[in-house]
């Protein structure tokens, strides 16, 4: 009954770990592991030294500096922390599903550091996630790239400071069902979705021009005209047109993927990542030529009419065609074993180890614009590391330690049973141990289910 004894001590242990987490960055020496750098090959029996949150040295026989924690990694595999380019974890709201365009909303304002899912993801070697708005709207909200610093209670402290701005777009059935079917407004069809996006870009262009004119007029002596009406929605859209925000677009079918490529081309928008992209394999050369990237599932489909034409070879075909490709979760459970998902590309497509690992490390980093900071084990990068017993692409892989900014945020040996940061006294005790359907609902359509299901009389 050791596990039970541990549980009794959980509160005390938690208190200790929390005080450790109070500092932002840590130092740690990981000794003697097989280091999977992803970008610089595999190094046997090698040490990785992280100091004050950054990788300082990768070599063999590094002496531990004073006051540096040492992790013995002999026989273990050391890889960069896993990055999930499509998640809805750690958010209090996901869809503002009342309007087909909601570029004014921002998931970075509704982060929830208390969500225990963050810890569950750490237990799967994940260190960075893209906390996205949902896919109910043609143009959804801005998203936030966060680091899984579980233990901090300040929502701002989860943010990966300096990560580029990103925004969610969505094509196909979700926006047409919610708005066309649910509210009887635009868009009802894929044509409508394209129109909504084009119209939004056109308005943003006019809006930007109106402000430019106003700011110029204001310089003239005696000018006393009114400013244009401030519009947060169009402010964000203008920033997309200026190239300051990366579009991450929920999409399945090749025709709509090409149509958005055309829209972006017409408006000079270059930074574009397609999410899901189940038919990406059909248009891989076009994606590669445009420089658009793709974030896919390993083998998940057939949950909607538009998601039938799919293949587990998708990631491999995209990769071989030169598309920067990642594998994402879009789900709290799947997020815990992205290394398995990456491994599937070796069965379906025969990607080599570095290619397969790139799908969950450096490639999602590129898609989020953070590849100079994370996604591989290189000197100068941030100290985000996942340590595995067994090769991470093996079916026998077990994550043992996960490090964020040089701080151990998950350690299988010290994994207490009750890792909640906050307890609601009004909740029944059982809530802590029952895993409900609700817990799995951090998906693309959360907060839009009512409209979505009412449409089909599903309850």
């Amino acid at each position: 009954m050791t596990s039970i004894r541990r549980l009794v001590l959980s509160a005390a242990l938690l208190g200790m770990t929390l005080s450790l987490y109070a500092q932002d960055k840590g130092s740690v020496l990981i000794k003697g592991g097989t280091v999977l750098t992803v970008t610089k090959g595999t190094l046997e029996n090698t040490d990785v030294l992280i100091r004050d949150g950054k990788i300082e040295k990768i070599a063999s026989g590094i002496a531990a500096p004073a006051n540096t924690k040492v992790i013995e990694a002999k026989g273990l595999f050391v890889m960069p922390g896993i990055i999930d380019a499509h998640s809805h974890a750690a958010l209090d709201a996901i869809n503002e599903a009342t309007s087909p365009v909601t570029s004014e909303v921002f998931t970075g304002e509704v982060l929830n550091p208390f969500e225990v899912n963050i810890y569950h993801a750490l237990a799967g070697g994940v260190t960075t996630i893209h906390a996205m708005h949902g896919s109910a709207n043609a143009i959804g909200g801005e998203c936030e790239t966060i680091k899984l610093r579980y233990g901090v209670k300040d929502a701002q402290a989860l943010k990966m400071e300096g990560a580029p701005r990103t925004i969610k777009f969505a094509l196909g059935e979700n926006p047409t069902r919610v708005h066309g079917g649910g509210s009887n407004i635009l868009p009802r069809t894929r044509m409508g979705v394209e129109f909504v996006i084009r119209e939004s870009f056109a308005k943003a262009k006019e809006y930007g021009a109106a402000w430019d004119k106003y700011n110029k007029d204001k310089q003239q002596k005696g000018f006393h005209g009114a400013p244009p009406v401030y519009n947060l929605r169009l402010e964000t859209l203008s920033e997309i047109l200026k190239g300051n925000i990366i579009i991450h677009c929920h999409s399945y079918r090749s025709d709509e993927i090409l149509s958005l490529l055309k829209v972006c081309q017409d408006y000079g928008v270059k930074r574009l990542v397609f999410q899901h992209v189940n038919e990406g394999f059909k248009v891989a050369p076009e994606l590669a030529q445009y420089g658009a990237m793709a974030s896919v599932f390993a083998d998940w489909w057939a949950y909607k009419f538009e998601v039938y034409y799919s293949t587990a070879y998708n990631a491999a075909i995209l990769t071989r065609n030169g598309v920067v490709t990642s594998i994402n979760s879009d789900d709290g459970e799947l997020m815990r074993h992205l290394y398995h998902e990456a491994g599937k590309t070796q069965k379906y497509g025969a990607l080599n180890d570095d290619e397969a690992l790139s799908l969950i490390t450096i490639n999602p980093a590129k898609q989020l614009g953070i590849e100079s900071r994370v996604g591989s084990l290189e000197v100068g990068k941030e100290g985000d590391v996942a340590i595995f017993k067994g090769h991470p692409l093996s079916i026998y892989a077990v994550p043992t330690v996960t490090i964020v900014d040089g701080l151990v945020r998950f350690d299988r040996e010290k994994d207490v049973d009750d890792m909640r940061l906050s307890v609601d006294p009004k909740e029944p005790l059982e809530a802590a141990v029952i895993h409900t359907q609700q817990d799995q609902s951090d998906n693309c359509m959360k907060d839009a289910e009512e409209i979505f299901y009412n449409l089909f009389d599903l309850k």
């Binding site: 039970i4 009794v8 009342t98 309007s99 004014e104 509704v110 701002q156 906050s422 005790l429 802590a432």
Partner: protein, 465 residues
């Protein structure tokens, strides 16, 4: 009188128009005019301010204000004398945020489905920042009496509604006609992070975006209104906009935004909004603030909720067999259940200890009652004191700190010459287990709460029919 709801609505309307004197429409209160407006509470223990106690002292009240505090005062000939030998006198309590005496809008039975849920009319979406709370005050609302009986004499009250329900105002809990109960008609712009139902903003995402957009729009229109005022020729005149104009005093910083923020993350989001936009803020009804003391310190205008979770009693023996069986299946091991209970109880202790933690952290605070039940309040205060809050700090939160945070510290919150005569008079010290509130004074008017039946001194005959 066939339609009682209509007739009471008519009465209220007449009252609001000032046609009816208060005594008429508040017919079941039946207040008799006192002979004089001069009172002397003699030989009492007077707690002028937290930690400042006078034994066997006298408090003189005349025409609504305190005109004397101390020993050896001459009792005016016309004064109604209250013998205070066994009584304790405190400044009247002040509630930082509530809806006491505010009419609740009727639930619309069939909520109109929006044709375009992304573009609802502002009032449908809970955006009515221009609403004057005075128009909603109801002097016969029943909770006024309950809160007064606990010693609350005034409070900041707000309209019901969504994200921007309207103006906050400071009123006396005296149950008098609207204009006789208002101390400050506009103490702040009231806001909650409450989404609209099935229309924009339907989530916290939308609420925060809408808030920022309205504030910035108002900043622009306000600036343009200034430009226009100085030169009206050659340009279109600015359109009237009730919603945006309601933000102008906030932008000028003549009033704060009064936010209700119960949960930790609500408070964090309010602070983030304030930091981005730069308005003055009062954060009220905080329930989970113990981790946020450092970030609240610079704001320092906070009201902690008097609602705290119940203590869980060991329900062994009382549990029925079926529940026991369920629990056995859920927790085959009682050690696991005990560990979960312990964590829950640890958190109950954090809620209960919140006020004490703020005291230790050096952040002055008042109390608010919006979600508290009046019958729990005294017990909750005692639990907070047991958990580390000092009695002086509890009293400060109920009186002087609240007055200062509401900007009325010059008039209320202590027992001093010249201040408004809001008093709580109890038998035994207020926080004592067996204490009872005997009288309450509001703006110099005496209310009998638990006075002896033959007490003729009380100016009221009977509070209930």
């Amino acid at each position: 009188m066939k339609n009682p709801s209509r007739s009471s609505g008519l009465l209220l309307l007449l009252a609001l128009m000032g046609i009816l004197p208060c005594r008429l429409h508040a017919q079941d209160v039946r207040i008799l005019s006192p002979v004089s407006r001069s009172y002397a509470i003699t030989q009492a223990t007077v707690v002028q301010a937290p930690g400042k106690k006078l034994d066997r002292a006298t408090v003189l009240v005349r025409d609504g204000v305190i005109v004397g505090v101390g020993q050896n005062l001459t009792i005016p000939a016309d004064a109604t004398v209250i013998k205070g030998d066994s009584l304790y006198v405190y400044a009247g309590f002040i509630d930082g945020l509530s809806r006491v005496g505010v009419n609740k809008p009727k639930e619309e039975s069939t909520k109109e489905r929006q044709k375009d849920p992304g573009n609802p009319a502002p009032e449908a979406a809970g955006i009515t920042p221009y609403v004057d709370v005075r128009a909603l005050l109801n002097p016969v609302e029943k909770s006024i009496e309950e809160w007064r009986a606990l010693g609350f004499t005034a409070g900041q009250v707000v309209p019901y509604g969504g994200m921007l329900p309207g103006h906050a105002g400071i009123v006396y809990y005296n149950g008098e006609a609207t204009d006789k109960s208002v101390l400050n008609s506009f103490s702040g712009l009231y806001s909650e992070l409450t989404p609209a139902e099935r229309m924009y903003p339907a989530t916290i995402l939308g609420v925060l975006a809408k808030w920022k957009e309205l504030y910035r729009q108002a900043s622009y229109t306000k600036a343009f209104a200034g430009v226009y005022a100085s030169n009206k020729t050659g340009v279109e005149s600015p359109a009237s906009d009730r919603v945006l104009e309601a933000f102008y005093p906030v932008i000028d910083k003549t009033v704060p935004v009064v936010f209700k923020a119960e949960k930790n993350l609500d408070v964090q989001r309010v602070i983030a909004l304030k930091t981005q936009l730069g308005f003055n803020v009062t954060i009220a009804e905080i329930k989970e603030g113990w981790d946020l003391i450092p970030s609240l310190k610079p704001n320092a205008k906070v009201f902690l909720s008097l609602d705290i979770p119940e203590e869980k009693k060991d329900d062994k023996g009382k549990v029925d067999a079926a529940k026991k069986k369920d629990e056995a299946a859920m927790f085959p091991d009682s050690v696991e259940r005990k560990a979960l209970e312990k964590r829950r109880d640890d958190f109950i202790a954090l809620y209960t200890g919140q006020a004490g933690a703020f005291q230790k952290g050096g952040v002055p605070f008042g109390f608010s009652t919006m979600s508290a039940k009046s019958k729990d309040v005294k017990g909750n205060l005692k639990r907070m004191i047991k958990a580390g809050l000092t009695e002086d700090a509890a009293l400060a939160a109920l009186t002087i700190n609240a007055a200062q945070a509401l900007g009325i510290g010059d008039r209320l919150g202590t027992i001093e010459n010249g201040k408004i005569a809001n008093l709580v008079i109890s038998r035994k010290p207020y926080f004592d287990d067996k204490s009872k509130v005997v009288y309450v004074f509001i703006a110099g008017k005496q209310y009998k709460i638990d006075a002896p039946a033959d007490d003729k001194a009380a100016g009221t005959k009977k509070e209930k029919p």
